[in-house]
Every structure is written in structure tokens, then in C-alpha cells.
């Protein structure tokens, strides 16, 4: 048991109180980062094996009808393109041109995927059609998923 032989002096009492307070403070200084650490964040985008596109199928459709395409989003630290085919199929590609690694753009008006750097052209299946690209674009697995609100979201995942 603690030696409680000497009577409590004001100095001792003050020390004890300070000790308690500072121990509490140090414990708080430890707990604060731990709690912040524990709390989950919104999914870490770059390292996820599966990413939801920042646009829905409906949005993609209306953009494509206007002849535009949404900008590429980050998937696996690479720009990812999504294309809605005429028969309703979805396709997702790594948007890095296989020629000199520029970022390609989808041209729904032309029905192709175009690389502005050296006029390389791929078809909507990612196959090179004209210009310098030597290999097809890398394709990802993509599928639709209904959200609770009734929207259809686009999910791109790494094919295993």
C-alpha cells in the first residue's frame, strides 16, 4: 500500500492535483488522435479496388447524346473513361494512350476515342483504328448498380 505516513501538505496536495491533471491531459493527447484514426472516412479513392463513377448512367447518356463526354475520374491512380455503347452496354477504359501516354478523350459525336497528341484514334471498344497507338486501351470491368434512390450508378472494378 502506498506509504501514507506523512500528513498531506499543501505542496503535496497541489502536486497531486497537478499530476492528475497533467496525466489526464496526456491521456487526452493520446486519445484524440486514436479516436480520429478510428473513425472511418469516405472510401480512399486511389487505392480502392472498386470505384463508383462520379456520374450516373442517366447523366452519361444525356452527355453522350449531346456529343460530350464526362472528364476522366481517378481509378487506380489512372484516368478512367466510361462509355455507354449504343446497345446499352457499359465499357470502362484506362484513359492513358498506348502511344506516348497522353490522356485520351471520348468523342461520342464521332463514335471514337481520340488522342489529341498525335491524332491517334481508337474505336469504342478501345481498339486502335488509325494513327500511332500500337495497342488497345486497357479495359476495366464495369457494371451498373441500382442505388436506394433509384439511380443507376456505374461501378468500375479491377478485373482479377
Amino acid at each position: 500500500m502506498m506509504e501514507a505516513t506523512s500528513p498531506s501538505t499543501p505542496r503535496r496536495a497541489w502536486l497531486v492535483r497537478t499530476l492528475q491533471a497533467s496525466v489526464a491531459a496526456s491521456v487526452a493527447a493520446i486519445f484524440y488522435p486514436v479516436v480520429r484514426f478510428l473513425w472511418p472516412r469516405r472510401g480512399t479513392v486511389s487505392s480502392a479496388a472498386e470505384v463508383v463513377a462520379p456520374f450516373t448512367v442517366a447523366q452519361l447518356k444525356s452527355l453522350q447524346e449531346k456529343g460530350e463526354a464526362p472528364p476522366p475520374f481517378n481509378f487506380d491512380n489512372k484516368p478512367c473513361l466510361v462509355v455507354l455503347m449504343p446497345d446499352g452496354d457499359l465499357r470502362a477504359y484506362n484513359g492513358i494512350c498506348t502511344h506516348v501516354a497522353c490522356t485520351v478523350t471520348v468523342r461520342p459525336g464521332h463514335g471514337d476515342i481520340f488522342c489529341n497528341c498525335h491524332n491517334g484514334v481508337y474505336d469504342l471498344n478501345g481498339q486502335p483504328v488509325s494513327g500511332p497507338p500500337p495497342r488497345p486501351l486497357e479495359a476495366y470491368k464495369v457494371f451498373r448498380r441500382k442505388t436506394p434512390s433509384g439511380q443507376e450508378e456505374i461501378v468500375v472494378s479491377r478485373s482479377t
Binding site: 506509504e3 496536495a13 499530476l19 496526456s26 488522435p33 484514426f37
Partner: protein, 408 residues
């Protein structure tokens, strides 16, 4: 041991005292309280060494806590491990802090364990009846080294991958069972995702449980036998029981706490100022990075291996080195039984000299491994031997001085 009891007003006990009563009543905590009250720590010149065990325990606690926190985000598969650690370091709040503390504390812990081993040897704390404490302690050291080795692979970066490859290659050098050990360790012929899974299980499940079991025995034995008193102190006071001592609670424990807080501050500083590197993702098909070597606590063995010629006494150098260090390990394990004159308090010149030589060899070889020295094997042996002789002569002289002072 209630701080509150010190300044509680004489009449109504404070709520903390009432809570204490409540718990003790129901949980039978009074046994612990009694044990704690009875425990005393001898005071002598080597008392400071007693702090090492508690420090190791504290750092282990830190490892458990930070390890659990990390396991909430870490994903143990080759294509996700590196990314998950990256996410911990860059995206999760204070992830960098938890991870860096875990890595730094691991190194600190093993350093403390090495010191603890050394000081218990110096104080001859393995003497009867504490042989099993010594043995369980060595088993714990082996398990913590395994902790370090298995944990090192988990970030799955280039350094980790190839260091594991090299390290498991060396275990393959154990004669007879080496091949099987390599296959078991790697979960296959090569280091793959299977190895990662196996190491993860080792690091997170198997070793913690095993350590808890052995640590429990170790601590129980320490409690049972009390703190050992080194011979010099015993002789000085006319017997171990006459050596002055302080109560564990609160004197020693509070001092322990100081040490723990210092360690905490040190870890926080290291984590903030020298964050642990992420490295580059492991590329199993690429070439090993230049100058791959294990962590510092394995360096002395690795440097020895590098210095050894490819064939020694008809054995491959891997096998010879593994054999050598296994023998050394066995000798260390058997020290309580080798030290014949321990009981009678007689000197142990051979063991002491060997130990001194081993310590200097450890330092020299670690320096060689770090690239600070460039010695061949024989030079290392010679230099550490010379240093050991010099040291022992110094000790002789100092002891003589000491004796003269005491008798004066």
C-alpha cells in the same frame, strides 16, 4: 494505492475510494493489492537496470495498441497491402502517427530487450531459483525477433520483400531441416502472397498469443521470486535480505512511469520528425534493390554471413553461420547451468570474458553491417577480442579501486 487517500478528508470517503471498495469486494482484487504492496525493489548501484523489464513491457503494450489500430485498416494481400499502408500514411487521420510509432517502437523494444538480456546477465539474475525466468526470457526474445521479422514484410515494399527473401533464404541454411523450414516460412518456394498471409497470421495471431502465454509465465516467475539482488550488493550489506529496498508501489512504479512518459515523448518526436518511409511497392519480378539488408537487430548475423567465405569446414557458408549462431543461442540459453559458481557467488571468468567478447562482437558486426566499418571476419573477431580484453582489464582495475575505496 489511492492517491486520493492521501488528501481525503477524514470523514466521508471520496467516490474513488467507494468505487475501489465496490470492485475489490466483488472481484477479489485485494490479492493483487497485497502482492503489489509487498513487492519491493532492492536499491544498489545497478538498480537502474531494473527499469528495463518494465520499459519492455510498456513498449510491448504500445505495440499491441498501435498494432490493433493498424489492423483496422491494413489489408494483407499483395495487391492491397502497399496501398492500404499508403492510405494509412496519407489519407487516414493520424495514420502516419500510429504507423510511425508502431515502427519506431518496434525498434526501441528490441533494443530494450537486448539491453535487458545484457543487464540480467551482468547481474547474474539467472541464478537459482530464477533459471526458468532466464529461459522464458530468451524464448520471449526469440519471439519478439520473429515479431520484427514478420512485421517487416507487411508493408510489401521493395525493401521488405527482398529482405524477407534474403532472410528466409538464410533459414534454408539450417542443416537437415533448413529446406522444410524455408518452405514453411515462405508458404511455398518463393516469397508470394501466401507468405504475406502466413506472416500476417504469425504477426497478428500466433505470436501475440504465444507471447502472452510465455510472458505470463515470465512475469509470474518474476513476482514469485522477487527481484534478484546482484552479488556485490548482497556482499556489501551482508546478505541479500539486508539490502535496502524501496516499495514497488509507489516509489519504483512512479519512477517507471517517468521512464514510460519519456519513451512516449520520444516516440511522438520520432514519429513527427522522422516518419517511417513508405518505400516503393514490391516488384517480385524486378531486381533486388542495391545493398539490401535486414533491420539493425539482425545485422550482426547478416554481416557475419557476408564476411564468411562460401565454404567453411566443408559446409556452405549459410549453414555454417546458422549453425554457429544456433550454438551461441544454445550456450546463452544454458548459461544458468554453465555458471557453476553462481550459487556460491564465485566469479565466472570464462563466461564473463565470452560475454564481453560477444557484446563487442555484436557492436562491431552491427557497425560492419551498417557500413560504418569495413572489416573481414578475422579482423572483426580480433578487434572485438582485443576490445574485450581491454575492457576486462579495465574492469579489473576498476574493481580493485572500488575495493580499496570500500575498505578505506
Amino acid at each position: 494505492m489511492s492517491l486520493a487517500a492521501l488528501d481525503s478528508p477524514p470523514n466521508r470517503p471520496r467516490w474513488t475510494a467507494r468505487l475501489k471498495e465496490f470492485l475489490i469486494d466483488r472481484l477479489g482484487l485485494e490479492t493483487f493489492a497485497e502482492l503489489a504492496a509487498k513487492k519491493r525493489v532492492p536499491i544498489h548501484r545497478s538498480t537502474v537496470f531494473y527499469f528495463l523489464g518494465g520499459m519492455a513491457l510498456f513498449l510491448f503494450g504500445i505495440q499491441v495498441v498501435t498494432g490493433i489500430l493498424l489492423s483496422l485498416y491494413y489489408k494483407p494481400s499483395p495487391d492491397q497491402a502497399f496501398e492500404s499502408v499508403r492510405a494509412i500514411m496519407t489519407e487516414i487521420e493520424y495514420g502516419w502517427l500510429i504507423r510511425s510509432i508502431h515502427s519506431w517502437s518496434a525498434n526501441l523494444l528490441i533494443g530494450v530487450l537486448y539491453l535487458h538480456l545484457l543487464t540480467t546477465f551482468i547481474m547474474r539474475a539467472y541464478r537459482r531459483p530464477r533459471e526458468f525466468t532466464w529461459i522464458t526470457g530468451l524464448v520471449l526474445l526469440a519471439m519478439f525477433l520473429a515479431f520484427g521479422f514478420s512485421g517487416y514484410l507487411l508493408p510489401w515494399n521493395q525493401l521488405a520483400f527482398f529482405a524477407t527473401k534474403v532472410g528466409t533464404d538464410i533459414t534454408g541454411g539450417v542443416p537437415l531441416v533448413g529446406e522444410s523450414m524455408l518452405l514453411l516460412a515462405r508458404s511455398g518456394e518463393e516469397v508470394t502472397g501466401d507468405t504475406l498471409a502466413r506472416f500476417y497470421s504469425l504477426h497478428v495471431v500466433i505470436l501475440p498469443l504465444a507471447v502472452l502465454a510465455v510472458l505470463g509465465v515470465h512475469l509470474y516467475l518474476v513476482q514469485k521470486h522477487g527481484m534478484s539482488v546482484p552479488d556485490a550488493a548482497a556482499r556489501r550489506y551482508g546478505g541479500p535480505e539486508h539490502v535496502p529496498s524501496m516499495p514497488f508501489v509507489p516509489h519504483f512504479l512512479l519512477r517507471d512511469m517517468v521512464g514510460w512518459y519519456v519513451a512516449l515523448g520520444l516516440l511522438a518526436a520520432l514519429a513527427a520528425l522522422f516518419p517511417w518511409e513508405l518505400g516503393t511497392k514490391a516488384d517480385p519480378f524486378g531486381a533486388a534493390p542495391e545493398g539490401i539488408k535486414p533491420e539493425w537487430y539482425f545485422l550482426f548475423m547478416f554481416a557475419t554471413l557476408e564476411q564468411t567465405p562460401s565454404h567453411v569446414f566443408g559446409l556452405e557458408n549459410k549453414q555454417a553461420v546458422v549453425l554457429f549462431f544456433s550454438l551461441v543461442g544454445l550456450v546463452v540459453l544454458a548459461v544458468p547451468f554453465l555458471d557453476r559458481r553462481a550459487d556460491r557467488g564465485g566469479p565466472r571468468p570464462a563466461l564473463s570474458f565470452l560475454a564481453t567478447w560477444a557484446v563487442f562482437a555484436f557492436v562491431v558486426q552491427t557497425a560492419v553491417g551498417l557500413g560504418l566499418l569495413h572489416f573481414g571476419l578475422s579482423v572483426s573477431v580480433f578487434v572485438s577480442g582485443a576490445l574485450a580484453i581491454a575492457f576486462r582489464l579495465l574492469m579489473l582495475w576498476w574493481c580493485a579501486l572500488d575495493r580499496r575505496r570500500m575498505s578505506a
